[in-house]
Symmetry: C2
Subunit: 731 residues, 2 copies
């Protein structure tokens, strides 16, 4: 790619960014858009009139910049805080990289004359003249690159260590300062063994009160409530119809036929008809609820009954899972960390998610089905990641004008126009790739959700890892190692060849990735600020919806979508740092913009839906280590290709040292991200003992993990008040 094509791409995207940001600056001041640009403030104040005052007229940049880290931590939780630390960490890394790259490596690269360039025609100069490819073979100047690789690795490792420690300390501080939460005292137990003489609930009660006589508090069985959900869904549909019927003024619409497709049967008063039907459904749902709820409270009150006296419909709906609560945090920790039963596939424990975070599905599966499910999902995910090559190959084709001309000869005329060819080679390819890549996060989230995870946060975390590998493979490797899918897999089946193949392929793609940073990175970040899709939806809703009949919901940040993108840019920066330092300023702009934009979004737009306590950081750490090793492998290959085999050999210890460093970090910090130390737990437990509200908290704890389907319903009583939320549970 020539420099001018890149400049076109930069120009287009810069323009787009400016337009997006200007639009945002104008639109956000209109109170009518408050639900798009400051939904958190809308939700928090619940008062529209104060809004204008709350949206300050000074620049949004100041609003995003001014709040301290502690305020951010308070408003967006530790996960949001960690998310912003990724930007800070990347900014530190790439500031160092840019100083070294632009001041030292870039001039050295440009001084070489391996690639022919016309010094006077700067605009048409190939970007490769700024890359390591331009340094003469065997040149002693490559030792400077060698030194840079070592220095950069040392610097990044130092930062990784400091950052891991900092986030671990924040996690512990966050834990010890937080108030008692139900999930700290509760574990999810799965694989409760079936017994012929007892109900599952009795088995759980007996097991835990025997093993933990002083610590066990209560348990809450999980039931198969799909039948109740079905009833509630039906009821909700009818309720909606009823609401819209009642809100219409024309009485003619109140009468209609209720037979097949609304075409047959006698005409009836629909309001009356639906009200009756709603009542029937509600009664049935309540009957079902009382069956399960009744038994649950029955057993909670420690009255033991024989299994044979239990109704069959109850027994079949009891699942082999329960939430078990303890009187102290240490009790929950013991059940979590030590094997419970004699059969390791029974009495399996998992940390209970926060009550708002539970994913009420897949509780029913047994150990074996869940294990098989996991295997299947891993296989499906691998297949999907590898076979996603079709759109990528199309994109590859589009970056090459000649391929296009051969495929579509009639386009030759158009393609020869300078602007068109520059748009096609500079902008279009990454746009198409970007569009295709949008599908990945939802698909991966779906795959994660059919694994055995029981909380949205775990699904998000697992999907984040899946998307990360997907994106690294399909953006980085697919573009770097262009060619057939088999060829690419073959590279990795030939471990000895990896460095040289990467070294031959990767530097040539620098310009593509610069263009990718600009199109995907810059524009995405700016459009995140503008929130185009929610803005359009908000207009549509305002036009078509008569009343605000749905509860106003503050959106949450999708970590599975955002983190892999940032990490991919980090990977690009780290791998290209010494080969093509020209990518670094573009990356710095991206990270600066991202820092401001996401800080703004986390403070004013997104509200956290769960709290993992910073468990996303280890993903960032591992990905950075992977990027470093990839960079080092490429360095080994490039020094070899450039006929400086001594430097190549001397780089070989570097990946080994990096891996050892990673091993040490694992030992040093990872345990802190899996649980909490006894020291802190006992401290918190002791503090609780002196807390007068703890007995009240324990009472709440007993019902904290009740299935939403089993909570009391009250459709019929709310039909008169149309504006009430639809699925109205008593709180």
């Amino acid at each position: 790619m020539i420099l001018s094509a890149l400049l076109v791409s930069v120009g287009i995207n810069f323009g787009l960014c400016v337009i997006y940001i200007c639009l945002f600056s104008i639109l956000r001041k209109l109170p009518v858009h408050a639900d798009v640009y400051a939904p958190r403030i809308v939700a928090e104040t619940k008062n529209d009139s104060t809004l204008e005052r709350l949206l300050p007229s000074s620049s949004w940049v100041r609003m995003a910049w001014l709040p301290t880290e502690d305020e951010l931590l308070m408003r967006s939780g530790l996960d949001g805080f960690v998310f912003m630390r990724i930007y800070i960490f990347s900014l530190k890394v790439f500031t160092f990289a840019a100083v070294v790259g632009l001041c030292i490596l870039l001039p050295i690269n440009y001084m070489g004359n391996q690639i022919y360039i016309d010094f006077f025609d700067f605009t048409n100069a190939s970007l490769e003249s700024f890359s390591i490819s331009n340094v003469n073979d065997g040149s002693k100047r490559l030792w400077i690159h060698f030194g840079a690789v070592y220095a950069f690795t040392a610097f990044v490792c130092y930062l990784l260590y400091v950052e891991f420690g900092y986030i671990a300390s924040k996690r512990l501080a966050f834990y010890s300062s937080s108030k008692p939460k139900p999930n700290e005292f509760t574990v999810l137990v799965r694989g409760v063994p079936k017994s012929s003489t007892e109900s599952l609930s009795e088995t759980v009660e007996k097991f835990f009160s025997e093993c933990y006589p002083t610590l066990y508090l209560s348990h809450y069985m999980i039931y198969n409530t799909s039948k109740i959900w079905k009833l509630l869904d039906d009821a909700e549909k009818i309720y909606r119809k009823l609401v819209s019927l009642k809100s219409t003024k024309q009485s003619s619409q109140r009468y209609g036929r209720v037979g097949c497709l609304g075409l047959f049967g006698p005409k009836v008063d629909l309001v009356e008809y639906y009200e009756k039907e709603l009542e029937v459904l509600e009664d049935e749902a309540k009957k079902q609820q009382s069956l399960l709820n009744g038994k649950a409270s029955y057993l909670l009150s420690h009255i033991h009954i024989l299994s044979s006296t239990l109704p069959h419909s109850y027994v079949t709906r009891e699942l082999r899972a329960a939430f078990v609560s303890f009187k102290s945090r240490i009790g929950a920790a013991i059940t979590l960390n030590i094997q419970q039963g004699q059969n390791p596939t029974e009495w399996l424990t998992d940390p209970a998610p926060e009550d708002r975070d539970i994913y009420w599905a897949f509780f029913s599966t047994s150990f074996l089905t869940r294990w098989i499910g996991n295997v299947v999902v891993v296989l499906a995910c691998t297949a999907l990641t590898i076979l996603f090559f079709i759109p990528v190959i199309i994109v590859q084709g589009l970056t090459n004008l000649y391929t296009l001309e051969i495929l579509f000869p009639f386009l030759k005329g158009i393609l020869n126009i300078n602007v068109v060819s520059q748009v096609i080679t500079g902008y279009l390819p990454s746009l198409i790739l970007k569009t295709f890549l949008k599908i990945a996060p939802p698909v991966m989230k779906f795959l994660s959700s059919i694994q055995s995870y029981v909380s949205h946060s775990q699904i998000e975390r697992s999907a984040c890892i899946k998307v990360l590998w997907f994106i690294i493979w399909n953006v980085f490797f697919a573009n770097a190692l262009s060619g057939s899918i088999l060829y690419r897999i073959n590279v990795f089946l030939n471990p000895k060849q990896i460095p040289s193949i990467l070294a031959a392929a990767v530097p040539g793609q620098a310009s593509f990735f610069i263009s990718y940073v600009v199109t995907s990175g810059w524009t995405n970040t700016a459009s995140e600020l503008l929130r185009l899709t929610p803005l359009i939806f908000s207009y549509i809703k305002r036009i078509f919806a008569t009343e605000s009949d749905e509860e106003f919901e503050v959106p949450s940040l999708s970590y599975a979508r955002e983190i892999p993108n940032i990490l991919l840019f980090g990977l690009l920066g780290i791998t290209y740092f010494f080969q093509s330092p020209l990518i670094l300023p573009f990356l710095l702009v991206y990270f600066c913009m991202g820092y401001l934009v996401y800080r703004h979004q986390l403070l004013y737009v997104y509200s956290p839906k769960f709290e993992t306590g910073g468990q996303f950081w280890p993903i960032v750490h591992h990905c950075t280590i992977f990027s470093l090793i990839l960079m080092q492998l490429i360095a080994i290959g490039i020094f070899g290709l450039k006929q400086l085999s001594l430097a190549s050999t001397l780089t070989i210890p570097l990946p080994i040292i990096t891996l050892l460093f990673n091993g040490y970090c694992q030992k040093r910090f990872s345990p802190l991200f899996k649980g909490y130390p006894v020291e802190l737990m006992t401290k918190k437990d002791k503090r609780d003992e002196n807390d007068p509200t703890i007995s009240e908290f324990r009472e709440k704890l007993i019902t904290a993990y009740q299935d939403p389907a089993l909570k009391p319903i009250k459709f019929s009583s709310t039909t008169d008040n149309i504006n009430a939320p639809l699925l109205a549970f008593e709180t």
Copy 2:
């Protein structure tokens, strides 16, 4: 190798075995050899006169065969029981293999005509005519081999599953039936953080009594007692001299010079002199002991003193490690399984070994040094394993007569003699290899001992794994992939090529391995029965030693030496099962002999020195899985080479299924081998509560982990009684 050479080797070794067994049958009946052939009985009865009666005149085979499994379990512990299960498991596997191999595969192989054989000259027939190499390329008969591979894998996996479950259940039963042991209540804590205001002992006391107020019992600090050990060693030497002086009748020897080398200085009464010196040393040792013991009991009695008032010599010898005991098993389990402190490199816990099993070294090292030490040992071990090639290459050279003739042309005459050449090709190579391999277990044990292990059992287990890989690489791969070391490593850097390279190389070595089974397997087992080395030592001792001045010690079985050997034969059997079924009868003989011999040895010769609770079984399981996968890879390669690519492709899922099966087994059984379930622990704890002896046990528990160097000494009081044991501790 031709059949006759193999027959010579079999003949020689069969002869050796017969001689060994006959010698054993004769020698064992002589009461004078009782300490070699029945040391356990000698130690147990402590009465020589009854020995003749105790050594029955009926065959030793009956003695080994008759005791039930429960008796074996009682006498040799779960480790000995698991050791014998390896033989039983192997016998089951290879009986099936032999039936399939000899009845179905061998005739098919022999019917092929890929290799030319003279049907009438059977003795000179090449062994390869019985192997898969003889089956015609592309023959449909290979589908029978394909079926055999699948059936064998299914059978072995089924057996593995059953056996893993059986041993896990035995482990749990053993645990729940055993009496309270100190190590069940104790954990070893390392990385106690240093404090400026408290001694380490105070820090430990404070931490555990705060975190576990109801469970914590006591702790025992570990001190650097090297100074005391030095004093005790010196005292022991003088004590020995004194004993020998006192036992001599000639009074002239009682006087001598005590200056430099005993040449200068005035003549003194040596007995008097040594007695005085012994007293001085003993006093010094007692002073040192009281310093540490005093402080220890001081702190044990909960009197807190300021660190500044502690003598400096005490503080410097306090190590950052302690044995912490709890009132219940669950307390110890909590400390073991949940992270204690906020820094994961501090308050590290390990299961306490049995008190007889402690390895009193390397307690002092910090987390970082231990981590680095581990890395260094792993690297050293890998290097040793890979670079052991020199003796193996010599052995390789010797199996080839031509190489020998070229190297030593003057030997040509001798080498051409039929018997000599057959001895050299059939017997000598494996004998040399065997001798070299004897070095491996002690070296690996040394490497394991400088890792951070704190018990002999852990060292043995870790050395067992190291020796296993060493032996598989240096016997199996080195012989199968003969050639330079670099070539061999290259094979594994080329994953796609592994099956075809193995397929080309492995079948050709069948005769070498048959000969290896015969020389190494048969003869070693028979010589294990004869116990040649201890027999010779016992003779030497009887000739030179005047009195039985050393305590009679019952030997223990070295698992690190024996288990890898058995597993290697298992690997040979599994990999050669479908290629060269001729190896199977030889292996069956080996396993039958081993079963009888080691049953006898475990019952009458070896006594267990520690009890890991069957933790050696997972090694056997993993090695069998590895063997299966190796066999499947070779099958993939051979079917490919034999131009039956469909069979080759259809075999590819097999290793994947095997790995999945292994993954399931890991989930299903492995947790049981890492600890014990809460269910059992609480049961045992409850049983203890009703036990009247438990308070007595708890008192003992407090001092159970006292360093032997800190136990009271009484040399001087025992000098009059010469026959007393040397390092006489008060019990």
